[in-house]
Structures are given as C-alpha cells and as structure tokens.
Symmetry: C2
C-alpha cells in the first residue's frame, strides 16, 4: 500500500509531529511505502490564484475551477500543485494529520485541498460521491483537538464531532469519491499529562494496525439522484 | 454603524467583487462607515506560524493559541494581524464575502479566521457562544456557490446548506459570541445569465436593507452547561 501523509503543524516537536512520525514508522515496518507532505516545512502556498496556471483557458477572467481543468489537460499547473497531485495519484491511502483550528483544517491545509483536489481529475462533470474521481483511494483524518470528547457529542455543547467535520468528511473527501475512514481524534492534547499522551499515541498505533478493517463512513449514492441532481423518488412524485 | 467587509476573491471582475462594491455603496449611502479587507489585494498571509509573534511566552515550543493570548496582552502580535484586529474591534457588523470552496472558505479567508480571531480576545477561558468575546457584533456570510439550491436542501444530494456551514456559522462566528445573521447565497453563479446575476445583486441589495430586522441563527447558551461544559440537566441525572 502507498500511504501519503499530508501533515500540517507549526511546531516540529508537537504531538501531531509524533503522530506523523509514528505513522511513518508503523507503515514502513509493515512493508508499505510512505510519503509525507510536511506543509509547514515545504512552506506550502495555500492561496488559490492566477499564479497556479502556466497557461490559461481565459486570460481575461479567472474562474478557478475551469482553469484547473484546463491546466490539468494541458499539464500546465504550477509545479507545486503538480508535485502534490502526483503524490495523490500514487497514494492508496491519504492521512490528513493536523490540529483542529475552528472545527476545521488550518488554512495551510485547506489550501492544499483548494489547490490540489482539482476539478477535472478529482471531481467534475457529474463525477462526485460514489462516482468521484478519487474512487478507490482511502482517506482518514488524524487530528488533535483542544476540547474534551463530551463537548463534541450528541448532547455536548458543540454537538457531534462528525457534524462539525461534515464539509471535510462528506463535502470534500467523500465528494471526491474517496473511501472515508472514521477520523482518529486525540482529545484535549494541550492539557493532558505525558502518560496520557503516550496512551493516545498507542491508541493511534492500534488504529493504524486496524486500518484495513475499519468500517467507512456512508455518503449519498449518485444512483439515487437524476441528471438534474434531484432525488429520483421525489422527482417522480412531483411530475 | 461600522461595517467591515472581509472579501476574498481572486478575480477583480468577479460577481463576488460586484457584491462587495454594491455593499460598500449601499452602506455608505445610508450613512454607515465601511472598511474593506480585500485579502487578495492585500496579499494576506493565511499561514498561522511562529512569525505571528514579536515576543513569545515560550520560545522553545509553539502552542499557537497560548502565544495569541500572550501577543494580545503584550501588544506584540504581527502588524498585519494587529491591523485586522483593530478593524474587527471597530466593526459593529462583519460581512464575509467569498466564493464557497469545498463547502467552506477559501484558504486565504480561513487564514484570516485562524490568525485574527485570537484566543484571549475573541474567545478563551470559558468565554464562547453567548459569553464569547465578540458579543454585541453582528456577522453575515455573503457567498457564491457553483451548485443549485435544490442540491443543498433537506432531501438534496448534499443536505442542508446550514449543516455544511456549521463549523463556520456555529463553530466560528457563533462561538465568538457574534450575532450570526442568515447567510446570503448567490446560487449557480458561474452558469447563469447576466440578467439573473443582476437579479441576484438586487436581492443582495434588499438583504442589506433588511439587515436590522433579520432573525439571527440560534446557538447553545453557556447557561445550560456546567463548569466542565457538561449539560446541566444530564449532569444532574447521572449524579
């Protein structure tokens, strides 16, 4: 298995970095190939802009997704995007390893999503969810959160974690057709004792060893929607 | 009223830019003060890093939120953050004007949230939701979306729009205590005719004229949770 770890933390000694290092060791020890995109170390540029395109379908008016399609077809995407796209093509499993900022990804990682998950390859032309362009690949979030687990549960103050992560789990990873594994969460990391952190790393190791047997999250099937993306049942009722 | 528009689009002729220009004119015509943070024009840096702090509480190990608190107290935050924070302090209403990327903000705008909504001022120390640090200010999203409205509805393929926007509406704006107005959405913008775009701009103008009478979204009250952030009712039942 080829594993890509997209890693985003601004402190090289962080718990996130320990998770990343553990995952590299663990996968390599089991005979897998691993590549790491360490976004802070790479000084990754997260800003989607006109500079991302070596040639333009429309030089006078930028529609970012349309230029992604053009750049992909003409192989004129910016070199940093192209390099990440090649890693993504290579990967069977992609792990996103990051600290939760505002119930979402840090901007440097959001900009990896914005710039690398390009229209024309990863989605587009009615290809999303179970017809998405990245079908066959697996994805998993591996995150740290400052809060405690009871704060992100059904009756917790912020509600269910998966509801907060919906635009990532469903709207991004599921949307591109990836098989989305349940997220791994290290809770309350800044506030716990070293022994508890060691326990959490061990839990992460166990999670990685179980990766082939995890039950993926479920998302809509395109089969249930018509060509206008209206629900098939509702459509037939109203016509 | 003081209005801050945080604007993020990479095409200066875009529909988003027209929305921004319209809002500036509309508010000024009604006697309000307006400031615009045009993130692309400013070449805003969205990456939360050690460079954001002129002095450090802990120079050896970066915990971003703790350094935000330190930098705020000592007035040593990076000048670009400080400048945005001053606009935020000044504002009674903040409008976030952006194209939806992956059911969320473009990275350049997410990085405004990550870097400007600092711990110690905007939240922290049990101050969030109705005790959040930005209580008294209003916020509204003004967005364009490539998809159509029926795709983001109860039985639509992506489910409810507000569920996809949850980490922004509730997890970010509501979390800081802001009064969150219903988002304004211009649907299917890249694919519609000029007359339809003109209609949408007119709808946006009407929305802005109604801003004082909009019913805000509702979020949890800290009064319903104990000091451990457990629900008070559930807590008393289980003890």
């Amino acid at each position: 298995m080829n594993v890509l770890i997209v890693f985003a933390h601004n402190e090289s000694q962080s718990f996130n970095a320990s998770m990343k290092n553990l995952a590299v060791e663990e996968f390599q020890a089991r005979g897998h190939e691993v590549k790491v995109s360490d976004l802070y170390a790479m000084q990754w540029n997260p800003v989607a802009s006109r500079d991302d395109f070596g040639s333009r379908a429309n030089a006078d008016y930028l529609v970012y997704a349309l230029e992604q399609r053009h750049g992909y077809e003409k192989k004129t995407l910016a070199p940093d995007i192209q390099a990440e796209l090649e890693k993504l093509e290579w990967a069977d499993l992609v792990i996103f390893n990051f600290p939760v900022y505002w119930f979402s990804m840090p901007a440097i990682l959001k900009g990896w999503v914005d710039r690398v998950l390009i229209s024309g390859r990863c989605y587009g032309g009615m290809r999303f969810y179970d017809r998405g362009g990245l079908k066959g690949k697996k994805a998993m979030l591996a995150m740290t959160i400052g809060g405690q687990q009871h704060m992100l549960s059904g009756d917790g103050i912020h509600g269910e974690l998966e509801d907060m992560l919906r635009p990532i789990l469903r709207g991004t990873l599921g949307y591109t057709g990836m098989t989305v594994l349940p997220p791994f969460v290290a809770w309350h990391v800044p506030y716990i004792k070293p022994e508890q952190r060691a326990d959490m790393l061990e839990q992460y190791r166990q999670r990685l060893r179980q990766i082939d047997s995890l039950v993926p999250l479920r998302f809509p099937s395109m089969d249930d929607f018509d060509d206008m993306l209206r629900p098939k049942a509702a459509h037939s009722e109203t016509n």
